[in-house]
Amino acid sequence: MDEKQILEIENLSVEYRTDEMLVRAVNGVNLRLKRGETLGLVGETGAGKTTLALTLMRLLPRGIGFVTGGSVKFDGANLLSLREGDMLAYRGKLLSMIFQDPMTSLNPVIPVGKQVAEVLELHNEAHRTKEQIEERVDEMFRLVGIPPERKGEFPHQFSGGMKQRVVIAIALACEPRLLIADEPTTALDVTIQAQVLAMMTELKEKLDTSMIMITHDLGIVAETCDQVAVMYAGEIVENGSVEAIFEGERHHPYTEGLFGSIPRLDIETERLRPIAGAIADPSDLPSGCRFHPRCPHCTQRCKAEAPAEHVVNGHMIRCHLYEGGAKA
C-alpha cells in the first residue's frame, strides 16, 4: 500500500436488512484518500453518503446494517476486521466524525467542557493528569473560538454555530488522522457556515488531518476539497481532483445534471434545470447502470449492462459513454 494513502476503500458494499425490505445502500465503492487531503463526497439525499461514513466508523445500526463485502484499509489496518474492543481505540482518537445537526449532537445534561474532556480521558495514552486535560480543553476552546470560561455551561446555553464549534473541538481534540464531517454546516445559517468551514479547514491543516467532507453543497466542495467523489445510488459514479470535476469537460451525466441544477449568475435562465425523476430506490435498484432511468444519454446497453470504472489521468467516470477513454 502506498505510504501516502491514509484510507483505501475497496469494493465496499453495505446493506440494511429489516423484516420488510433489503436496502442496498452502498454498492462496490472504491475510494482512496491521501494524508492531509480532503475528499468531498457529493450526492443527493439517500445516495449512501452517511452510510459510507458510518461504515468507516463501524457505527452502522446493530442488527440492521451489514457490510456484505469489500475492505477498508485505514493507516495500514483493516478496519472491518477489527474487534469491537480494538475499534474503541480508533474512534475519537484516529478517526473522528462530526454529525450533521449540532443542535442534537451534544448531550444536553453534560457541561460542554466535560464533553470535550471525555474524549481526552477515553484516549489518555499519554497519562495526562486532570489538570493537563483541563488545559487541553481550554486550548481546544480557544482554537475553535469559544472563551474557555464558558466550558462549564450546558449546550442549551450556546447558539447552533457555537455548538458546532464545540462538536469540532471534540472531534479534533485527539488530533485524529481522519475526520469525517457529515454535512457539518447544513444546519447552520450561511454566514456562520462560512466561519465554521474556514475554521475547519484551518485546523485540519494545522493538525495535518485528512478529511472526508460529506455534503450536497457543491460550493463547499469547491472551497474546501482536493478530491471529489460523486455518489449515486450507493455507487461512486465519478471521482477526480476538484479541478477535473469543476473545470474539466468530461463528466458523468449525473454530475452534469448536478451542476446543471445550480443557479448561475452569468447565464440568464427562466428556470433551473433539475434532474428529471427521483433518486433510485435503494430497496429496488434499476438494472444495468443505476442512473439509466434518469439519464438523457441512455441507450439499450445502459439498461442491461452495468458500466465499469473508466479512468483517465486519475479521473474516474463510471459510464458507458467513456469506454476506451474517450466520449463516444
Partner: protein, 315 residues
C-alpha cells in the same frame, strides 16, 4: 432554589385545606349518626343528645369545620370517637408500618424496575426483552388483592417461606412489598424501556459512540440521565398510588398500618380519625411531589436555567 421551595410549600396549604374540606363534607354526607353508632341502638334520646353536644355535632357544618382546622393548626387533631385516645397518638403507632410498606415497595420498584427496563431497551427484541414485556403485561393487569392472596397461598401457606399475616419482622413485609410494587413496577419497566429507546436513537448517543466510549459508558453516562425525566415522573406519581394501595395490602396481609386503621374508622364514622389520616397521607404525597420536582432540576440543567430566566424577567 430556596425561593422556589418556599413557594411550593406555600402552595401546599390550599391543597391541604381543599383535601380536608372535601373529606369533611364527605363524612358529613355519609349516612348514619355518629352518636348512634357509638352508643348503639339502645341508647336513650337523652344520652344521644348529650353525646352530640359533647362531640359538637349540634353546631352548624362550617363552625365545626373551622373549629377543626383551628385546632389542627395548633396540633390538636382531637380524640378518636371510637377509642377516646388522641388521634395523633394512634396514627403515630400505625405510621411506621405503613411507611415501611410504602418505602420498601418503592425501593423494590426502583431497584428492579429501572435496571430491567434499561436491559430490555439495550437488548431490544431479544428473548430477554420479550420475556420482560410479557411479564410486565401480566403483572400490570393483575389486581393486587388477588396477587397478594396467591402469594400467601403459595409462599406462606404452601411453602411456608414467609409469614402470612402480621408485621413483626422484616420477613413478613416481603410478600406485601412484592404485591404492592407489582403493577407499578411493571409500568415502570415499560416506561424506562421506551424512554431509553427514545434516547438511544439520539444524535448525542451516536456522538458518544464516535468518541470511542464503550457501550456500558454510553448507556450509563450518556443515555440514562437523559432518559430519567419521565422515569422520575412515573416514580413520583406511583408513590401516591402506593400509599393508596397500602389500604388494600394491609387488609390482605393484616398489617397494623394506617390503611387498615383508615378502613375501620371510615366504617365506624370516626370523623377525627379519618380526617387526620387523609391529611397525613396528603401531606406525605405533597412532599414526595415537591421532592420529585426538585430532583428534575438536578437531572436536567435546562429546567434550572428556565427557572432562573423566569426570575430575571419578573424583576
Amino acid at each position: 432554589m430556596g425561593r422556589y421551595i418556599a413557594k411550593r410549600l406555600l402552595l401546599m396549604i390550599p391543597v391541604i385545606l381543599g383535601v380536608s374540606l372535601l373529606v369533611f363534607t364527605m363524612m358529613e354526607l355519609s349516612p348514619g349518626d355518629p352518636a348512634q353508632i357509638i352508643l348503639g341502638i339502645r341508647a336513650t334520646p337523652e344520652s344521644l343528645a348529650a353525646l352530640r353536644t359533647e362531640l359538637g355535632l349540634d353546631q352548624p357544618f362550617w363552625v365545626r369545620y373551622f373549629n377543626y382546622i383551628w385546632n389542627a393548626l395548633h396540633g390538636d387533631f382531637g380524640e378518636s370517637w371510637r377509642s377516646g385516645l388522641p388521634v395523633l397518638q394512634e396514627i403515630m403507632v400505625r405510621f411506621p408500618s405503613t411507611i415501611k410498606l410504602a418505602l420498601g415497595s418503592m425501593a423494590l420498584m426502583v431497584l428492579v424496575g429501572v435496571p430491567v427496563g434499561i436491559l430490555s431497551a439495550v437488548k431490544q427484541y431479544s428473548l430477554l426483552d420479550n420475556v420482560t414485556l410479557t411479564g410486565a403485561l401480566i403483572f400490570s393487569s393483575m389486581p393486587s388483592f388477588w396477587l397478594g392472596t396467591l402469594l400467601i397461598l403459595a409462599f406462606a401457606l404452601g411453602l411456608n417461606w414467609f409469614p402470612a399475616t402480621g408485621g413483626d419482622t422484616i420477613r413478613s413485609y416481603i410478600l406485601p412489598w412484592i404485591t404492592l410494587a407489582a403493577s407499578s413496577l411493571a409500568t415502570l419497566v415499560r416506561m424506562t424501556r421506551s424512554s431509553m429507546l427514545e434516547v438511544i436513537r439520539a444524535d448525542y448517543i451516536k456522538m458518544a459512540r464516535a468518541k470511542g466510549a464503550s457501550e456500558q459508558r454510553v448507556i450509563l453516562r450518556h443515555a440514562l440521565r437523559n432518559a430519567l425525566m419521565p422515569i422520575v415522573t412515573i416514580i413520583g406519581m406511583d408513590f401516591g398510588k402506593l400509599l393508596g394501595g397500602t389500604m388494600i395490602i394491609e387488609q390482605v396481609f393484616t398489617l397494623p398500618g394506617l390503611g387498615s386503621l383508615a378502613i375501620t374508622s371510615v366504617r365506624q364514622l370516626d370523623v377525627p380519625m379519618v380526617l387526620a389520616e387523609v391529611l397525613f397521607i396528603a401531606l406525605l404525597a405533597g412532599f414526595i411531589n415537591l421532592f420529585v420536582d426538585i430532583l428534575y432540576v438536578y437531572i436536567d440543567p435546562r429546567l434550572k436555567s428556565q427557572y432562573v430566566m423566569l426570575r430575571k424577567v419578573r424583576r
